[in-house]
Symmetry: C2
């Protein structure tokens, strides 16, 4: 497989020399109907309101073929060493519980069997907790699951937990309440612990390396609280499980109630479908719910192997995003779910995208000259409409938009006011925004004029369920992966976080004569 820099490809040159199109001129009802691509879990990706003419679309297909983006995805699925920075395989697709590539062996084991084995452990354990056969140390059933983790051990699982709460409520799914502690700021743990009933809480400690500073610190804070509990017969170790790698110090900690494993081939931001998300979601909503999410993700993984960009939503989304960044020169992208349940999904995508592709070197560690990952931000609609949309509509920069919407709400508790359901109002707003951003509006008064030509895509479906949520997650994972291939960078390491860690240790050791650290530390410590 050949890995070349984007600026060495014919396809990039052709796109740079191509005519730029106007969304306003391109957008027609026919285009809207024609330009939807099926994703997994019953979702669709629509790119009608993107500045992609038929000619540009052809060139994107050529670039995809020239760079063999699908071939590179298949290298991942086949267990090639696709994280060269850390010399690791990239196996998160295998955590969906379905083999997509050839058999992958590593560390002397069949990795598919390994992940399936962990899934089985998650199933048995979560069922035991949920049916009451595994109880707290004082004999009470667990009612709450509290995840302690940060970064990928927090953002993805938390976003998914919140995304399924309304679905579970609306479908009378038995639940354990989910709580999350992440920040090393002691106020984070204090605020959460304050609302917990320790006797009925099960903590899930998540750290792949078993050495994450924030997570170990918060574990100690929690253990201190548990140990000081005046409850008779209370045994702290019966209230905590670990999710970690087999080789980590946590794996050997016999005081834990149980341990579930992932490995070095699952990056934190890609770990939501591994035990990192699986334990907490299976405890909160049941293993079947988690399995349905995995199935949705798997469906999307399969669709992502398609070479025809008009049949591969993740690939099309990736190519369009690259076009907006490198040809149109737009520096940021907004994620705008019209679904309160997805309130923290943009924060997960912010990590997924910016940590994966916010790089200035290629796969070989050589500096590259073209822009890579954009800034990603977002809030749910309609809330954002009353906030930052002013800039999106009338600011001096163009920010491409990724809308997400569902026909039905989750709770089913909706009423008609002023002639329509709330859910209808929500989606009327979403519909209106896409058109407003694309077409703009002329006005004699420039203050009331909208230039339009603000590109957007829309992912839509019937309802946010475990399956559609899994597909949505995998769509963005695969999009980001394809963009990493286009930029010829390694989306699976994160060297950019190391320097801060080293310097923080130095500060904790008294700054070691570093006068700049000392001067700032004097303000704060």
């Amino acid at each position: 497989m050949e890995y070349v820099n984007l600026d060495k490809t014919e396809g990039y040159k052709a796109l740079q020399e191509g005519k730029k199109s106007s969304v306003k001129e391109l957008l027609t009802p026919e285009r809207i109907k024609a330009q939807s691509i099926k994703l997994g879990g019953g979702l669709n990706y629509n790119w009608a309101a993107m500045p992609i003419s038929e000619e540009t679309e052809g060139k994107l297909q050529k670039l995809s073929d020239e760079m063999d983006l699908i071939g590179k995805y298949k290298e991942i699925l086949s267990g090639k060493m696709m994280n060269p920075g850390e010399k690791r395989l990239v196996l998160h697709h295998l955590t969906r519980g379905n083999v997509l590539g050839v058999k992958v062996e590593a560390d002397g084991e069949d990795k598919d069997e390994f992940y399936k084995g962990e899934l089985k452990k998650i199933k048995d354990f979560s069922e035991g907790v949920r049916n009451g056969s595994i109880k707290g140390s004082t004999g009470k059933e667990f009612t709450t699951v509290c995840q302690i983790g940060i970064g990928g051990s927090d953002l993805g699982p938390r976003a998914l937990y919140l995304a399924l709460k309304g679905w579970a409520d609306g479908n009378n799914v038995k639940q354990l309440k989910g709580e999350f502690i992440s920040n090393v700021d002691p106020d984070d743990a204090a605020a959460v612990i304050e609302r917990l009933d320790l006797e009925t809480t099960l903590f899930v400690l998540v750290s792949k390396s078993g050495t994450t500073q924030e997570t170990l610190t918060n574990r100690d804070l929690v253990l201190e609280t548990l140990k000081n509990s005046p409850i008779e017969g209370f045994v702290p170790s019966k209230h905590m499980v670990a999710v970690t790698s087999k080789t980590s110090p946590l794996a050997k900690d016999a005081s834990m109630l149980a341990a579930f494993f992932m490995d070095d081939y699952i990056g934190g931001r890609y770990s939501s479908t591994s035990a990192v998300g699986g334990v907490v979601l299976s405890l909160a909503y049941g293993y079947d719910t988690f399995a349905a999410l995995l199935q949705g993700a798997h469906e999307e993984d399969v669709l992502s192997t398609e070479k025809d960009i008009k049949k591969n939503g993740a690939l099309m989304d990736a190519l369009i995003g690259f076009y907006l960044r490198n040809i149109m020169g737009y520096p940021a992208t907004a994620i705008l779910p019209y679904s309160q349940a997805l309130s923290r999904f943009p924060a997960h995508l912010q990590q997924l995208d910016m940590e994966s592709n916010g790089k200035h070197v290629n796969r070989n560690g050589e500096k590259i000259s073209y822009p890579t990952g954009p800034v990603i931000f977002g809030e749910p609609g309609t809330n954002g409409q009353h906030s930052f949309y002013q800039l999106l509509h009338q600011g001096t920069d163009i920010i491409p938009l990724q809308f997400i919407g569902f026909r039905k709400c989750q709770y089913g508790k909706d009423i008609v006011t002023a002639g329509s359901y709330s859910q209808t109002k929500l989606n009327a707003n979403l519909t209106a925004q896409i058109a407003a951003f694309a077409r703009g509006k002329d006005d004699e008064n420039p203050n009331k004029e909208f230039d339009g030509n603000r590109p957007s895509s829309l992912i839509y479906g019937e309802e946010l369920t475990p399956a559609s949520l899994g597909a949505l997650l995998a769509h963005f994972e695969n999009k980001v992966m394809f963009q990493g291939f286009i930029w010829n960078l390694n989306s699976f390491d994160q060297e950019g976080v190391q320097l801060g860690k080293v310097l923080a240790k130095k500060v904790l050791a008294g700054c070691e004569g570093d006068e700049i650290l000392k001067a700032y530390a004097d303000f704060l410590i």
Copy 2:
């Protein structure tokens, strides 16, 4: 007072022609010690790690003087019509309960007396609820206050509520629990209502115009739930108050328990210190807490009148932000509070900044040619370090950073692990990040190389209290106001949100033959 476009000023030309400085070269321990400016509420603004040489600083001062930024602020304080788009005064500074300018009369009343009168009403009512003399309809004391509002009626009050929760817990302040409903998505209201005990909940309905679609819809959803309550003797109207303008339909709604007023001179995103934030915060934490927040904001307002940019943190922050945007060409700014309590403060600033200055016309409604407001986003540290910081350190674009940190935590529940308190670890990380971003690190391996020169500022203080929070809020309000003056735009209207509202109504009316709306609506409705 003269209002000219930025590109017509001598100061802008001088800055464009000036030498650009490197943060890496500028940053010294002496600079860090020297370049702090006192803000209100015991806070400080430090700009040592900004690419601002002494020469540039002099030019920024000249631009400030040439554009008479302080004079323009004083026009606001004196009650001039400073929102020309909507032909309104801009009076949020008066809501701090302290006159700063001359006496302002409008609508036939002294506005200072008007806001003070509302403050008195808030004091009396909140004390009545908190001491139990005002009870729910079944005779139980209120334990929960639930705000129904969107945009400025939600983001600011919610951010402030969350910011003070730990302070209130840590200081044993009597509390009513705060809840918030904002999104028209019916799942938002459903999720909140599910956790409420209706008998002990007081709803605060907030809409200046009294016509906000989301807010009225959510009121109706809540009222429907209240009316269907099987509790004997339950009277829904005794569980709701309004915050609105005197002229709105809500003001005349006799079914409400009480009504508190703001007016058209308080923009939504600037309304946190009016009754919009005052009612919910006084109910939740007591009027004295809210009064302390107002006092902190007032202190910062006073400091913001200083002409010397080295003594005016909001003005310096504004000028530096403009420099980064218009001279350095950076398209975004990240807000990074090292305080979990400020988890939603970046979302508030996102609205404040992007809705105020995301404009393409000047104060006279004429198109302008220079970039205005940047994209604003952010999450608390250290969480962000495990997420999007990779791009901030090693991405291909430079994103300026605004750090916020406090010496002490709020709860005071902290322990020593691995030789240090969690709060110390938190601030060691903050210290380390500023240095890492500024200085970078050389390495033979480009993947481990950090270019540095990532500019940052730091707002720091002893603790996040009502007073320091008020000052922090006012700092950013005044920063955004000064930047609006620099760009010669109107920071107080929001014409960009209108088109979407009009089109949403069209969709609800069946699309009225608009085939593009119809095509999207078919996916969603």
